[in-house]
């Protein structure tokens, strides 16, 4: 995973301006940046992605945006504006929602994950997800939780599983707290620990991209801080997309910020620019707290 990322993150001066030609609206303005931080290669890219729900309700419409490798991309915006809907389209979670219909393309390293013959199960192994509510499997031990994804693909070898469990728990910053009770069910894990366990479980299958849907919104400030630090560490190895309601959080830890409003992508750019000099008036209003 790491080596793959290293090979692909060749610095480019790629200026991705996708003006939303079809809608005629300025959808995405991505600033040119010669700095390495902004020259990352898009690991994931959506083209004219729309999600409709049964009954004709539009979740998100016509989203075209890149997600850069080894960067944290934050999706911000008021509740109900399509951030989560968009996020769930990125690893085909909508396949499971009756009545939801996805159109457009999601390119993972140039390959459309909605293309013919693509197995959503394989997609989800490469694009992991962490949810708002910590969701460890309640009947499994800490250890079994972490290696659950590996067991699914048929890994049974004890030494491999042990190694992965330790690596994932270390990555999730949980190893030191649980290493002496891996075989116990973590009945007394705190909410923050449970969320880190969920992250460790997602990391164990070595995904290329990790989607996080408000991963800290049900946690206390200390656990939140812990997980934020973790995300900054993790982006060395995976590409992160997070949905957050907390603008400070987006400002603190993301490299790119996308502002969603009413199912549309209003603006995408490097986080510092979005927060210091938003190009769109609605973005400015939202981040200054005038609505939302």
């Amino acid at each position: 995973m790491m080596s793959l990322a290293a090979v692909q993150s060749v610095p480019t001066n790629n200026v991705a301006v996708r003006g939303g030609a079809s809608s005629g609206q300025p959808v995405v303005q991505e600033q040119t940046a010669g700095t390495p931080a902004h020259g990352a290669h898009p690991r994931l890219e959506t083209r004219a992605l729309s999600v409709r729900y049964g009954g004709g309700a539009v979740g998100v419409a016509d989203i075209t945006m890149p997600v850069h490798a080894n960067r944290v991309t934050a999706l911000i915006g008021p509740s109900g504006c399509g951030k989560t809907t968009y996020l769930r389209a990125l690893n085909r979670m909508h396949d499971l929602t009756p009545g939801a219909h996805v159109s457009g393309q999601v390119l993972l390293d140039g390959e459309d994950i909605y293309g013919p013959g693509v197995d959503p199960i394989v997609v989800r192994r490469r694009i992991g997800m962490v949810f708002q509510k910590p969701s460890p499997f309640p009947t499994m031990s800490i250890y079994d939780n972490v290696v659950a994804g590996l067991k699914l693909v048929g890994v049974r070898k004890r030494s491999v599983l042990d190694g992965v469990a330790e690596r994932s728990l270390r990555q999730a910053g949980l190893w030191d707290e649980v290493k002496d009770r891996l075989k116990t069910g973590g009945r007394d894990l705190s909410g923050g620990q449970q969320q880190r366990l969920s992250i460790a479980r997602a990391l164990a299958v070595e995904p290329d991209v990790l989607l996080m849907d408000e991963p800290t919104s049900s946690l206390d400030p200390k656990s939140t801080g812990h997980i934020e630090e973790l995300m900054v560490e993790l982006k060395k190895e995976v590409t992160l997309v997070i949905v957050t309601h907390n603008m400070q959080q987006a400002a603190r830890l993301s490299d790119y910020t996308a502002f969603f409003y009413l199912g549309a992508l209003i603006e995408l750019g490097p986080t510092s620019r979005i927060f210091e000099a938003p190009a769109e008036e609605r973005t400015a209003e939202y981040i200054s707290g005038r609505f939302g």
């Binding site: 009756p98 989800r124 949810f131 509510k133 499997f137 309640p138 009947t139 659950a148 009945r187």
Partner: protein
């Protein structure tokens, strides 16, 4: 209360002249609480008291044979002959164990499968149809199933299965004959099969509800790891729902233990041990239903009451076990 407060807050100064009309005096509100609390207490405790009273009355009325033969003496006494005045509950206990556990073991796997299918796999319309049919099956009065059993199912089973099986066994498997017995229309197997049919909707419905109660994030957590549908069910749904499913099975057992009409109509009513598969038998509910009219001797009446008392105890215990299992296996979002 909240609305009142909000209303008075909003109207503020304008309504200052008549605040009492908007917010009733605290004493009335507290009175309302007390009246409601007392009502709930009385109704709730009366249910508990009724249950206890029922058990006590059954024991008072049916206690004589238990006192005479001892708690287990009456239970294990194998002869039940009202004419000679011998009353032992054992033939009916055996019958009850065979019919209810037999029905349960026939019904529970298919029923759990149907419950999982309707909650997880079936397209919405198919699931709706299944649920409707299952509810319908649960709503059919047992006497209707009984009359269908007497006139349609039992003769058909005898002609199609029991007789051929019996002839075959007589020709080539004589050792089976003591188990099979001489085929009659009304026998323990027919009663058990119909009992299985009757408890199926309960198991299906309780399984289905337990599966549906599994939180979305549990399913999605498994799916986000790249699990297939069945892997997701095995990894997150079944462990989470197991408490509800097992409790549903045990509650179905309680229903099988107590179900009377169908069994009384179809079991054939013979208390002569040993029972055979194709031969008549009796169980605890059926002996009560079939003999209470002819019971003129006081000893006979009290013996039937005593059987009722034991049945009461058994179903009570089974229900307690179901509640315990549900509590024990319920994971409720915690890591066990």
């Amino acid at each position: 209360m909240k609305a009142n407060r909000a209303a008075s807050g909003q109207s503020g100064e304008a309504c200052a002249a008549s605040p009492r009309r908007i917010v009733p005096h605290a004493i009335y509100r507290r009175l309302g609480d007390r009246v409601f609390g007392a009502l709930v207490l009385v109704l709730g405790s009366s249910i508990a008291l009724l249950t206890v009273a029922m058990g006590l009355v059954l024991y008072r009325q049916g206690g004589a044979p238990i006192v005479r033969d001892g708690f287990f003496g009456f239970l294990f006494q194998t002869t039940w002959n009202p004419v000679t005045g011998e009353h032992g509950a054992w033939p009916f206990v055996v019958g009850t164990l065979i019919t209810s556990f037999g029905a349960l073991s026939i019904a529970f796997l298919p029923a759990i499968a149907v419950g999982i299918f309707s909650a997880e796999y079936a397209p919405r319309r198919v699931a709706a149809a299944i649920n409707y049919l299952v509810d319908l099956l649960a709503a059919v009065p047992s006497v209707v199933i009984g009359i269908w059993g007497i006139f349609v199912f039992a003769p058909w089973m005898r002609d199609t299965f029991y007789m051929p099986a019996f002839y075959w066994a007589r020709e080539s498997a004589a050792w089976l004959l003591p188990v099979l017995g001489t085929p009659t229309s009304y026998n323990i197997l027919t009663a058990t099969l119909l009992l299985a049919l009757m408890i199926t909707p309960y198991t299906v419905a309780l399984t289905r509800d337990a599966v549906r109660m599994v939180p979305r994030e549990q399913r999605e957590a498994a799916q986000a790891l790249g699990s297939t549908h069945w892997e997701m069910i095995r990894m997150s749904v079944l462990p989470y729902a197991r408490g509800g499913i097992v409790a549903g099975v045990v509650l179905s057992l309680a229903r099988a233990l107590g179900e009377t009409m169908v069994v009384a109509m179809l079991i054939g009513n013979s208390n002569r041990l040993p029972y055979t598969l194709f031969g008549p038998a009796a169980n605890m509910p059926s002996v009560i239903a079939n003999e209470f009219r002819e019971a003129v001797e006081p000893t006979h009446v009290t013996a039937l009451m005593a059987v009722g008392f034991y049945l009461f105890l058994i179903t009570f215990a089974v229900n307690l076990i179901a509640a315990y299992i549900q509590k024990r296996l319920n994971v409720g979002g915690r890591i066990l």
